[in-house]
């Protein structure tokens, strides 16, 4: 399902998995499945904590996007930069985000990376190259561009950045400016767009009017790819190719994956606006059971091994939640109320 937008220059080089041994491909597939399963089990837990009133604020799930998200995290190496968005638990985990970061942020522990100052999916570790998103869509595209530009200025080599967005976020002015400036700077960037068919409740026909979002790749000077976001094999192949191309110095890469959001915008939303017939579309397949079925069919793992994997993940998740639940919440009277690191320039309001 690889489509490369017509562009002058070198021909695309080879197929993604050409020459790769079957064993490596299988191991990679199973590894990706584990990240998907981790995301699913963790997010189910978060949803249940939310319903039980244990989480303040929103809970935003990546249900339905686990295959594409896992692939986003899997091809990034040390020194690469990841700017995930709202539905990227699988990719965040594959990139190395500790489970405790997730549950501490959702549960408001003062020991989390955001220390109660920001919640849910806004968490990040900028010093470890996982950027902390803001809610304003498109805003992280120039930020990751700046990270990559600076790495080049510092003389670093062989690095790449990957950021994700939805078809909703593709319609902001910030996204336009960001996609363009990344191409002008020719930074090694992969932008993975997941069209999950709804921007909150707004369907595609009120979001954009072009035939396909990948057509924009040509307009911005990107190499474009499309992929079935419910097919893990395709996601791995296409995103690996895009990451390799960006790393090799080709223009920025735009991957458009197609899925259906199998949850509300957040857990507060019952998504009753999704037409029932849409749930029968091929893009509405749940990638987790689809991947599991493939693994069993191909004998990559047997059913007992998958059951064991589930149990291990559930234990890890439960332990992380139990740890975070025992930790103190932040307190207003102990908070360091400074938005500046330069303490002697803090304005005083008696």
């Amino acid at each position: 399902m690889l489509q490369t937008a017509a562009r002058k220059g070198k021909r695309p080089t080879g197929k993604a998995s050409a020459g790769k041994s079957k064993k490596v491909a299988h191991e990679r597939y199973v590894e990706a499945f584990r990240w998907m399963l981790l995301a699913r089990i963790l997010e189910d837990k978060l949803a249940s904590l939310y319903r039980g009133g244990m989480i303040t604020g929103g809970v935003y799930l990546g249900r339905g996007q686990e295959a594409v998200s896992a692939a986003c995290g899997m091809f990034l190496q040390k020194g690469d930069v990841f700017a995930p968005l709202i539905r990227d638990q699988a990719g965040r985990s594959a990139f190395g985000e500790p489970l405790l970061d997730v549950v501490r942020t959702y549960l408001g522990s003062r020991q989390g990376p955001m220390r109660g100052r920001d919640g849910n999916i806004h968490r990040g570790r900028p010093r470890e190259n996982q950027l902390a998103m803001i809610s304003h869509l498109g805003a992280m595209i120039p930020v990751i561009t700046g990270k990559l530009l600076a790495k080049r200025m510092k003389g670093e080599k062989n690095f790449v950045g990957l950021t994700t967005i939805g078809e909703g976020g593709m319609q902001t002015g910030a996204t336009h400016e960001g996609l363009n400036i990344a191409a002008v700077e020719q930074v090694p960037l992969v932008v993975v767009v997941t069209n999950n068919h709804f921007a909150y409740s707004t369907p595609n026909e009120r979001e954009f009017a072009c035939a396909h979002l990948v057509d924009r790749a040509k307009g911005y000077g990107y190499e474009g790819h499309t992929v079935d976001g419910t097919d893990l094999n395709a996601c791995l192949e296409v995103i690996e190719t895009a990451v390799k191309r960006a790393r090799a110095g080709r223009p920025p890469q735009l991957v458009v994956a197609t899925t259906l959001r199998l949850a509300g915008h957040g857990e507060h939303d019952d998504a009753s606006y999704v037409p029932p017939e849409m749930k029968n579309e091929p893009f509405a397949q749940d990638p987790v059971p689809r991947t599991e079925k493939f693994i069993l069919e191909q004998n990559l793992l047997d059913a007992a091994a998958i059951t064991k994997m589930r149990a291990e993940i559930a234990k890890e998740v439960d332990e992380a939640v139990a740890t975070a639940q025992q930790e103190d919440a932040p307190a207003g009277n102990e908070e360091d109320w400074s938005a500046l690191s330069t303490r002697d320039l803090k304005d005083e309001f008696p």
């Binding site: 805003a139 120039p142 700046g146």
Partner: protein, 322 residues
């Protein structure tokens, strides 16, 4: 030999690029031989290849890119072509740069240069003073140099600060203001300066309006009034201590700013003096600001829209007479 305010900005950037390899400048029309709309970077792209970079007309992405570079250890300076256009970048400045340290514990050392304030014939979209707006949001330091010396030292200091700094340079002062040489000493960011001592009235001002305030002080001195003029230099954080000490000496306060009248720097100064130094006041404090309309194009309208020596003098007399 003399140095203009604009040359001081260029010299500061030259020094920064020369002394610190983390520094680069990012903005529209600043690369090549062109040197920016006001020539604040003239010659720098040739002298420092790859470090003075032209950008597309994308204010939001310019600041976003600078934030990313700062997170990677660089010290970017963003040149907005006009302060007015920084409204396109409000999201990156306020929501990304301004929140980042508090949210993540990782500061964002960017400096955003805003060519600010009115000049004759510039109209609604090339004349704005946005320091009040940026000061309202947490996480930003906002400086407004009024002198050649401050333009130089405060830009160098801004880049050294680990947090985002909004550097408001006044376009009217670019060519009008001259000093004999670049300064050897400096007053740090965050400290106000008493530029003229007096005992009868304190005029608090900043940026180009400091010079209007000084003209008013000279005029009133002919009538025997000694006006003390305070140049805030930094509007956030506000040096309330220096202002209160001045009001303690004079008992009267007039605040002058070029920005729009609702809220803003002058309102903040009056608020702080009345809440923290009410007992020091012998008369009600007053403010002179621009009018509450867009900034008009025609010189006749523009000169009546902004505070000027005449309107400031009239208000000063009222405060002195009370």
């Amino acid at each position: 030999m003399s140095v203009t305010y604009l040359e001081a900005i260029r010299e500061a950037q030259t020094k920064l690029l020369r002394d610190d390899e983390r520094v680069f400048i990012y903005g529209q029309d600043i690369g090549g031989k062109f040197g920016g709309a006001f020539k604040a970077t003239k010659g720098l792209a040739e002298k420092f290849p790859g470090r003075v970079l032209n950008t597309p007309i994308s204010e939001d992405a310019m600041v976003g890119t600078a934030i990313g570079a700062a997170l990677e250890g660089m010290r970017p300076i963003v040149e907005m072509q006009f302060a007015d256009f920084s409204s396109v970048a409000l999201n990156q400045i306020l929501n990304n740069a301004g929140t980042h340290y508090y949210r993540t514990n990782v500061p964002v050392p960017i400096t955003v240069r805003l060519p600010s304030g009115g000049t004759k014939g510039s109209g609604p979209f090339h004349s704005q003073s946005m320091e009040g707006l940026y000061s309202h949001y947490p996480g930003l330091i906002v400086v407004t140099p009024a002198t050649v010396e401050d333009a130089y030292t405060m830009l160098i200091d801004a880049v050294a600060i680990d947090d985002p700094v909004i550097y408001c340079e006044h376009k009217y002062l670019y060519y009008h203001l001259k000093a004999d040489a670049l300064p050897k000493d400096k007053l740090p960011i965050g400290k106000a300066r008493i530029v003229r001592p007096g005992r009868d009235l304190t005029i608090v001002s900043y940026s180009a309006m400091v010079h209007e305030a000084l003209a008013v002080a000279n005029e009133l001195s002919k009538e025997g009034f000694e006006v003390e003029v305070v140049d805030l230099r930094t509007v956030k954080p506000l040096d309330t201590g220096t202002v209160l000490a001045s009001v303690a000496r004079t008992g009267r306060l007039l605040c002058v700013g070029e920005a729009f009248p609702w809220g803003g720097v002058t309102a903040e100064v009056v608020s702080r003096v009345t809440t923290e130094g009410f007992h020091l006041l012998d008369a009600a404090p007053a403010r002179v600001n621009a009018k509450d309309t867009p900034i008009p194009y025609h010189p006749n309208l523009w000169s009546a829209h902004r505070p000027n020596a005449k309107t400031i003098t009239a208000k000063a007399r009222q405060v002195l007479a009370e």
